[in-house]
Amino acid sequence: MSSWKEKPFGFTLIFGLVILGLVILPFFTELYYQTFLTELFVWILFAISFDLIFGYTGLLSFGQALFFGIGGYTITILTRKYGLGTEPGLLLCILIPMVFAWFVGYFSVKLTGIHFVIITIIFAIIANIIGDTWTSLTGGKDGLTFSPRPFRLGFFQINLMDIKGNYYFVLAVVALCYLILRRIVQSPLGKIFVSIRENEERARLIGYHVQRYKLIAFIIAGGLSGLAGGLYSLTLKYAGAGYLHWSVSGHAVVYTIVGGMGTLIGPVVGTGIILSLEHYLVNFLQATDLVVGIVLVVMVLLAPKGIVGLIQSRRKKGKASA
């Protein structure tokens, strides 16, 4: 009678409707909005992968930019220099950042609290400096441009140079990743992540090898952040060291906090709200991050569980009074 009362049907319905809406949307909107939405999808993927490591496992990593940036370079360099197709390229956008995440995580998960935060920043800074200076590989300050090849799956083919094609492709990948992540956080493995967030010592005392599971979460999040970076490069046809800057991780922090951490849907909502706000403000304000900063501070102070948390607690209250 207790346990998780879920309504999988409700989720499927809403998820299906949202995707359906996004599928027919390009028929009614200008290309300009399609580009905006494509970028929005990419940042959603970045934010939900961050939510796995921060919202679910409790590790504030400012190092996600590192994996995002490496994902971007992976698809760009492989396509440009080696003429690799998009399908193996994107797969490597997950695998190569995972290897880096394994390396960075191996050291980082030994530390806790603020020391963990700082070591992840440091790794991102090192990557940023290397990206900036290793000009022969990364194009240095200018970065690299490229033309992605069409994505092929059997007879099915998507032209990624076409804005609409790119839109559908990114939408499909991000929606798939959302479903995968949702599965993971509801799985027994996800329960272990949450237990580590809630009380590391207790998790250890009931037999979980805490460092190992932190590393697993870090590697999964790293791989998906890398995929987000790869999709971003596919969309902008460009990769640069700027993607690697630790402050890029700050985007994920903002979206996740504003939307509601540890909920997956929260970062989606947060990304949508913040990016739309920026998109709107940019018309009359040079410093759009000002509003982002203010929203972040206000949310942290007044509603640390984010917008989704606010809605949930209101619903709970409503139930209690009914």
Binding site: I184, Q186, P188, L189, K191, I192, N199, H209, V210
Partner: protein, 252 residues
């Protein structure tokens, strides 16, 4: 009570020093299967330190710890847990933001070998049944969907024992379960413990002498890191040295 010659847990000549200070001083202790072995002693006698050495939160400075004849000295806490030793802490240690059900579930699934990331947790029927059984045993079934930090303090102590039991331990280390409870709550907890923990092998660290005398089969008295007396409750009550260092100084 089943009696065997050698104990399920053997502590041999264990000591622990913190920067020159001996917190545990060449302790020998044997815990028999099925008994409730109480550790008593004044504050700072090294009781909690000894528990921390047994389940690997601290490393020993010297000596050996054997469990069922197997060397477990200085293994890390998560490995100790899988070997079959569970632990509750002096300051309640739960997963504060999760429901009572989720707290028990997390412990109940810990004996699984492989954590499939693509399988919804609720499909694990055996874990679900185990969780329900534990909720029944602890009497927390009605409160299963409450966030555990909303529970009364006494219920939180019971939940922590339930979590420890869900790991199917062969030995249970309880660190002052009645700490922070008033005498009425203490009595209720002791009553609960009698039903919940029957048949378990237990090391109990406890300040409340009433609780100790009621529950313990064997008592060891620690003083400045050394064991100064050991025996059944009736005998410990009579021991002159114990009276001097412990019972006399406490308001028991």
């Amino acid at each position: 009570m089943p009696e065997t010659n050698s104990g399920i847990l053997e502590i041999k000549n264990v000591n622990k020093s913190f920067g020159g200070l001996l917190a545990v001083n060449h302790v020998n202790l044997s815990v028999k299967k099925g008994e409730l072995h109480a550790l008593i002693g004044p504050n700072g006698a090294g009781k909690t330190t000894l528990l921390n050495l047994i389940n690997g939160i601290l490393h020993v400075s010297g000596g050996n710890i054997l469990f069922n004849g197997q060397e477990i000295t200085n293994l890390s806490p998560h490995r100790i847990s899988h070997i079959g030793i569970a632990r509750t802490l002096q300051i309640t240690s739960l997963f504060p933001g999760l429901t009572v059900h989720e707290n028990v579930w997390t412990a109940a699934q810990s004996r699984k070998k492989f954590f499939n990331p693509f399988l919804p947790a609720r499909r694990w029927r055996d874990v679900q049944e185990k969780t329900e059984a534990m909720l029944e045993l602890t009497g927390l079934k009605e409160k299963a969907s409450l966030i555990c930090s909303e529970l009364s303090y006494g219920d939180q102590r019971i939940l922590e024992m339930g979590i420890a039991l869900s790991t199917e331990p062969k030995l249970l280390l309880l660190d002052e379960p009645t700490a922070g409870l008033n005498s009425q709550e203490s009595m209720a907890l002791v009553k609960k413990m009698r039903t919940m923990l029957s048949g378990q092998t237990i090391i109990l660290v406890e300040h409340d002498m009433g609780v100790v005398m009621e529950l313990a089969d064997t008592i060891s008295v620690l003083h400045y890191g050394s064991i100064i007396a050991e025996g059944p409750p009736a005998k410990i009550k009579e021991n002159e040295e114990v009276k001097k260092v412990y019972l006399g100084t406490e308001d028991a």
